[in-house]
Amino acid sequence: MKKRKFIFFMLLPTFLLILFIIFYPTISGVLLSFKNYSLFNFKNIEWIGFDNFKEIFSDPFYGNIIWNTVKWVVFSVFFQLILGFILALLMKEPFKGRGIYAGFVFYPWAISGFAIGLSWSWLLNGQFGVINDILMKIGFINEGINFLSDPSLAMFSVILVNVWYGIPFFAIMILASLQTVPDSLYDAAEIDGAGYFTKLFHITIPYIKPTLINTILLRTIWIMNFPDIIYGMTRGGPAGSTEILSVKMINTVFYESDYSKAAAHGVVIVSILFIYTIMYLRLTSKQEFSL
């Protein structure tokens, strides 16, 4: 009996805080999306049903925003995964100075997304940007590219930066799980004459599959909820070409000050994530998902 009390009091502070800071606001956020609370309507807040959602979905650009979000998430996760995997494989065998090397290649992950966005908007600047200069020097292009002001290139640019930012996370997670693959598996395969890629696809990847499944799920959720880089680079522009759902929601709060409509955007995002998570876990549950 005394022990149960002990457990209860050890968990209490954390849970009160999370309930107060995360769960209660989540519920009121969902309720808010059915009301008409905005900067222009503080007093007479009423229940207006699905009006906010109707308004969101009737936005002619909404299809475009969804499509942008899909591109943003799919391409970012895909390239972060592939490049992070390659980096982890390169770092698997110990070499002199590996710890210091890790510090340098992993640091982008410690920086604020907004600062990364700002920095890269300078690097990718159409006139004074160093990336254009380098591309011209190696003879790749003849004249400066407007990475951020050209609507057909802006999405490519923000994804590039997000990939840069996200490689370390995948590399860290994969590197850690690569260390757990028993050497005996490789030794046995080598006796059978297996080459590098045979070992990779038949031993390494199956062995670390649970980590891959976990990390992809976590990253997909985080990237979908991550407006910081886009905010530092384009704020959704030019002409809405980099506007994804989370950016749209932030803009609805900061520029339109329509808090209920913003909450409705949030509810749409959470619903998509929820459905995605359930489907993902169903599809991968046979693959021994371990949380």
Binding site: L11, P13, S28, F106, I111, F114, S119
Partner: protein, 276 residues
């Protein structure tokens, strides 16, 4: 033998490419922050500067109240990280050592709380804190960041506690310590690397948070560093060496913390999310 050297050359080349790709943007921002204004927009683009200038930094501290933002960020990030780490230490310990019915639902609950986007709950949080008269106060950010931090830090803390063998505590109990004594005298000292990893991880997260801070802080004496950067960008006609100086100052604390704690952060992160 020949094949092996070929492979290791490829490996070295790829490692160098990753290194350059990671480090170049940082180099460029530091260089920009040290360039005198006339070199910023000159052709051909200069990859080095012979007359480094602190103009960008000077302007930053004169033009906007950047030292104030820095101090605010330190106060908010440090206090919130300490609070969430202490909370996480308690709950992580119980989730690692305790045996009770609700253990796994609680761990799941902690994971799900990670999935809720900060900006969905930003507005309801704002209304809540408005009622508590805590708007435009650093305290509001400290409370919110502690809450977000506590969830993830608990998961990390559990991972670290799981690595400390239970037998050490049992030995202490046999030697006549009670449970609280064994926690403080035996387990916690072994948790020092873990706790510093958790603390640094939360610090990095708190230091970088932008949108809640923009929403909650509305006078410039209360701004944190990211909000300060945000407000500089909104002002037209800022020179890039000044902005780059701001970015460097904003990166500095997290890079230092990360450099010292990366080994622990990385092991804590992978422990926390791979296994329960």
């Amino acid at each position: 033998m020949k094949k092996k050297t070929f492979k290791s050359i490829i490996r070295i080349i790829l490692l160098i490419i990753f290194f350059v790709f990671a480090i170049f943007p940082l180099y460029w921002i530091i260089l920009t922050s040290l360039k005198p204004t006339h070199e910023l927009y000159s052709f051909p683009i200069r990859y080095w500067t012979n007359n480094p200038s602190l103009y960008g930094y000077k302007k930053l501290f004169e033009f906007v109240n950047f030292q104030r933002y820095f101090l605010n960020s330190i106060i908010v990030s440090l206090s919130a990280s300490f609070v969430s780490t202490i909370f996480a230490m308690l709950s992580g310990y119980i989730l690692s050592r305790g045996e009770f019915k609700w253990k796994y639902p609680i761990i799941l609950f902690l994971f799900f709380s990670q999935m809720i986007p900060t900006y969905l709950i930003m507005v309801p949080q704002y209304t809540m804190f408005l009622k508590l008269n805590l708007i435009n106060k650093l305290a509001s950010l400290i409370i919110i960041y502690s809450g977000f931090g506590a969830a993830f830090s608990t998961i990390m803390a559990k991972g670290f506690f799981d690595r400390i063998p239970r037998s050490i505590e049992e030995a202490a109990l046999i030697d006549g310590c009670n449970e609280v004594q064994s926690l403080f005298k035996i387990t916690l000292p072994l948790m020092v690397p873990g706790l510093s990893a958790i603390l640094s991880f939360s610090f990095v997260n708190n230091w970088n948070e932008l949108f809640t801070a923009v929403m909650f802080l509305n006078t410039s004496d209360k701004y944190t560093v990211p909000v300060g950067l945000y407000s500089i960008v909104s002002k037209a006609g800022v020179q890039w060496n000044v902005l780059a100086a701001g970015i460097v100052i904003a990166l500095l604390p997290t890079i230092i913390v990360f450099a010292f704690a990366q080994k622990y952060i990385i092991s804590g992160l992978t422990q926390g999310s791979l296994k329960d």
